[in-house]
Each structure stands twice: as structure tokens, then as C-alpha cells.
Amino acid sequence: MNRLSWLHAWLMLLPALAMLLAFTHIPTLTTLWHSLFFPARGSEAAEFAGLDNYRMMLEDDVFWQALSNNLWYALGTVPTSIALALVMALWVNSRISGRTALRLAYFTPTMLPMIAVANIWLFFYTPEIGLFNKLLALFGHPGINWLGDPDWALPSLMLMTVWKEAGFFMIFYLAALQTLSRDIYDAAALEGAGRWYTFRRLTLPLLMPTTLFVLVNAILNAFKLVDHLFILTKGGPNNASNLLLYYIYENAFSFFDSNYAATLTAVMLLMLILLALLQFGVLERRIHYR
């Protein structure tokens, strides 16, 4: 390749590269740099802290709580929403009447903004007049303080997230299911494979590329999506539903400790990178791509 085509190639890459550098890579590096300083006081220059912020983080009980909340949150929402998405996709892919309406119905939660969704669910969860407690009252149950009870706050958030995410993931499964050829199912039926055997030996393995894609996205979302916390619990009660990203937000914009927020961000970023590598590394080898 001559110099001119090299130049061309770089010029073509330049716009995307500039955007990525300006909004992704440089902020990442400044975040790392920031996390090594104490907060600036008044007009004084910020004092270099080394790893003090990280040491502080390890002793921060709220950080550990937010981290464990986030892990439970991911563990509770990711498998459930993926399984639900798969079941819904299989259902709306079958020959039933009104399946277009059904597909739309399942996809609606995804189209709504998270803030609007949270407001709707706020009504469902409200004590006394909320939908859920009204339903419980029909069976003579005194009702649950869904968002106010530390034991129920996080599960309540998880329920809403599953409702919101499953429809989104269903679309990917549905698209994948429609690319599978009718013939191999006919062949399997002739070979005497039952529905469960066909699902386990054909459908599931053939959907694995989609599952990996959905899994990566679901896990990222579990750490990324915190919009609903602003409406529903604000991390409370007593941090029972606090998640990492929300805690970072609190540190940066409520407690004005942007250096500690940077520290937390760096740790979260590292965690997500490790998770993604793990998923690709472990699953990639076992997936059949066409």
C-alpha cells in the first residue's frame, strides 16, 4: 500500500476516531487521573493523593453495599429477563392469531422512556392506594411497603427492570428465530425429536450467538441503567436499593466529591471490562456462528 492510500484510510477513520477520543478515551484517562487527587479546596490546587481515594473506597461501607446490591440486581434481573425474552419470542414466533399485536405489546415497555416507566410503577408500588396492594387486599393481605421496606426495595426495582428489559431482548431473539430454516425443524420432527429435545438440541444452540449478545448487553445495562432510582427510591431506604452508578452520581453531584466519583468510576469500568472479557472468552469458543 502506498502513502496516499494510507493517508486516505486515516482521513476516513478520522471523524469517528475524533469523536471516540473526545467523548470516550480522553474522559476515561482524565477520570483515571482525577481519581489520584484529593478534592480541590477553594483556590488551592488539588493535592496529589496517590491511591488514597482507593484506600478510602475499600473502607467505605456504602460502596460495598452498592456493589453487593448491584451484583444481586444483575443476578436477579439478567437471567430472568433473558429467559422471559426467549419464552416470549418463542411464543410470538409460533403460528398464533394476533401475534403482531402480541409482539407490539411485548415491545412497548422498551419504547417508553425509563423515567415515564418509573412513574407508572411508582403508582403500582404506592402503599395504601397502589395497584399491587389493592390486589393483595382482595386476598385479605395487609399490603407491603414495596419501596419503603429495605427488604423489598431492591426486589421491587428488579421486578420493574425485568418487565422493561425482557421485551427489548425478545426482539433480538425473535429476529434470530426467524432466520432459522423451517427445514431443519421438519427434519427434526421426522427424526422423532420431541418439542423439548428439539428446543434443547436445535433452537437453544442455534440461538447462542444472540444469547451472548443479549447477555453482554443485559449485564452492562444492569450496571448502567439507574434512571428509575431517581423516581422510585433515590437509593433508599438506608442505601438498601443504592446501585453503583447512582452512588457515583451522588458523590459527584450531591456530595461534590468528583475525585471520589472518579475513583468509583474507574473501579466500575474495570469490573465491566473484566466481565465482558470473561463472557467472550468463555462463551465464544462454545458458540456456533453461521
Partner: protein, 347 residues
């Protein structure tokens, strides 16, 4: 008792009848070709026998057992698909054993049959590859092996060779036929290619617009076509049909010869095929009706050249001009229709 018995099978979608009143039977060890043009209902018939399509009416019996309403897996059939329908994520061995595992056949039995079948279709070194790494011909062998390994009383094949290139198709045709005869398989083979049907089948079931046009040996379909559809469908180029008003007289192009005396014809064009040449001509004394003839070698006849054509009277087929059905009574030979009574038959 015959292996497969199909009686008055019908399939309709709304007002469209894809298959109407098809009845036939297949004897054990027989190779029957289900032949017909596109849209004649041959694939629908096969799918109904396989259980992938529900018949509107009629019955299907296999070894005396009524299987009309059974799900595909319980019919005891094997099938080779046009697209091969291999499972892309499974290795060749797993593809072949898929059905045996689904039916919970014991491991030793499975391995015994796998060894046997890989030897038969010559797939030894490919066993651990995925279908994506195989050539078209090898995929075809895997599909075939999967059908053989089931040891089903009837094997259905849906245009299994149509995705292969011409050379490979000819090889596989011979191989498939010899395999079928060695194993004594009973095969129902759907194809639109008359050469496949003629060369492989013991009997041909020729369909037209959802009905049986004729069923018989390849020889019978060629030499005594029941109607003009069969006459035109079997043979390449198709049989010439000359209208005489009352009847239609059929003569195969390969039975028409050039001679120094005979029926005058004018050449329209030549089509060189290598071993022979197909000549289009018009019969000048029969209202310029088109006739095709096949002459050996490379014939260079210019457009408008005059020929004298003749053929043996026993090579003439008579059909009713209205129904198109074969005349079973003696009919007047073509020579009697000419204004001049010059005999042009070879003495």
C-alpha cells in the same frame, strides 16, 4: 402386502386444490419417482406422506398401519430434503445420530450403525467436521446417511440432487440407485427432472395439476403414453403432435428420419447438441405444422431447405383431439391424410 398405500389423497387450500384424488402403492424395495412440472402437487403429496402437511381427505397406510393422522416422528419414515436440512451446529456424526439419540437407541447399536453407514456413503474422514466445512456433494452424503441410519421402512426424497452441479448429479444418481438396490430400500423420490426419474426409478408416478397423469415403468411412459400431457412431458425434445382434425398423431423426434422420398418438410432451424442435432421443420402438406427431428452428428441445414421425412407406422401414437387420451382402437395413420397418396414409409 405393499409397503405404502395412498388412497384418494386430497389437499385443498380454500378453493385451490393442490392435490386431488391421488392413489398409488409402493412395493417393498421399490424405487418410485414422483415426477411432474413445478406446481403439480408432488411436493405437497410428499409432505402429506411425511406428516408435515395434513391431508384434506384420503388415507395413507404404511405396512398396513394407518398413518394419515400420526405426527411425523411416529410414522417410521426417513426423509432427505432438497436443502439437506443438516443441523449446522452439529458435527457430521452428530447429524447422522440425531434421530437415533432422539429415539433413545442404545449406544453400542448407535455406533454400530454409524460405522456401517459411514462406510456405505464414504464419509469416514469428515465425521468430526461441521456441515459448513463440507462441499455440496458431501452434505448430500450426510443427508443420505441420516436417512439410511434410521433403517426406516420407507425413505422419502425431495429433489435431493437438484442443488448439485450437473457432473456431480450424474455421479450421485448412479450411486444413489446402487445404494438403494444394495440395501433394498423402499424409496419415494420427488423430482421435476425426467432424466432422473427415467434412469433411477422402477416406476414413475407422473402428476399433472394435482392428478395422476400416468403411473408405470419408465418404459411404459415412454412407449405408451396415456395422454398428450405424458407424451409431451416424457422425452426430450418432446413428442411431436400433429393435428389431423379428428385425432392428434404423436411421433417422437428420434423416430423421424430423412430419406430420398417421404413427406416433404421445410427446415426452420437447427440446434446442435454435440452427439446429435435437433432440427425444427414444418410439414408443408399438413398446414405447416411444426415437427422436430433428431439427426445424429452435426447437420448443417440452411433455413428453408427441403427435406423428405419418414417414420415407421408403429411409431405413431394416436390421441383423441378433444380429451387428449390415448386411442386404444386402431386409428388411421398420418399418411392417409395427405392429398397425394404417395407412400413415404420405409419399405
Amino acid at each position: 402386502m405393499s409397503q405404502l398405500e395412498v388412497q384418494t389423497l386430497c389437499k385443498a387450500w380454500g378453493d385451490t386444490r393442490a392435490v386431488s384424488d391421488i392413489s398409488f402403492s409402493i412395493e417393498p424395495g421399490e424405487f418410485v419417482a414422483l415426477l411432474g412440472p413445478s406446481g403439480c402437487g408432488k411436493s405437497t403429496t410428499l409432505k402429506m406422506i411425511a406428516g408435515l402437511e395434513t391431508p384434506t381427505s384420503g388415507s395413507i397406510r404404511l405396512n398396513g398401519r394407518d398413518i394419515t393422522r400420526l405426527p411425523p416422528g411416529q410414522r417410521g419414515l426417513a426423509m432427505v430434503f432438497q436443502s439437506y436440512a443438516l443441523f449446522p451446529h452439529l458435527s457430521v456424526a452428530e447429524n447422522i445420530l440425531f434421530g437415533l439419540k432422539a429415539r433413545r437407541v442404545a449406544v453400542e447399536e448407535r455406533n454400530r450403525r454409524l460405522r456401517q453407514v459411514t462406510e456405505l456413503v464414504d464419509l469416514g474422514p469428515q465425521l468430526h467436521k461441521k456441515p459448513g466445512q463440507l462441499s455440496g456433494g458431501q452434505c448430500q452424503r450426510v443427508a443420505l446417511a441420516r436417512a439410511i441410519v434410521a433403517e426406516a421402512p420407507l425413505c422419502l426424497m425431495d429433489e435431493p440432487l437438484s442443488n448439485l452441479d450437473a457432473k456431480l448429479r450424474n455421479e450421485m444418481r448412479a450411486e444413489l440407485r446402487s445404494l438403494q438396490q444394495r440395501l433394498g430400500m423402499t424409496v419415494l423420490y420427488v423430482t421435476h427432472d425426467q432424466v432422473e426419474a427415467m434412469s433411477m426409478a422402477d416406476r414413475i408416478l407422473l402428476l399433472n395439476q394435482g392428478r395422476v397423469a400416468q403411473m408405470g415403468t419408465p418404459q411404459a411412459l415412454y412407449s405408451t403414453p396415456e395422454n398428450t400431457f405424458v407424451a409431451r412431458f416424457i422425452g426430450n425434445p418432446p413428442m411431436n403432435l400433429i393435428d389431423t382434425g379428428q385425432h392428434r398423431i404423436g411421433i417422437r423426434p428420434e423416430h423421424v428420419h430423412c430419406h430420398h422420398q417421404g413427406e416433404p418438410a421445410r427446415v426452420l432451424g437447427c440446434d446442435y447438441h454435440g452427439a446429435d442435432t435437433i432440427i425444427d421443420a414444418v410439414l408443408t402438406r399438413l398446414g405447416d405444422q411444426l415437427i422436430k427431428l433428431r439427426l445424429p452428428g452435426h447437420q448443417l441445414l440452411s433455413c428453408g431447405a427441403e427435406l423428405k421425412l419418414n417414420w415407421l407406422p408403429e411409431h405413431e401414437h394416436g390421441f383423441c383431439a378433444h380429451s387428449g387420451q390415448r386411442l386404444n382402437t386402431p386409428f388411421a395413420p398420418l399418411s392417409t391424410y395427405f392429398p397425394h397418396t404417395e407412400s413415404y414409409h420405409v419399405a
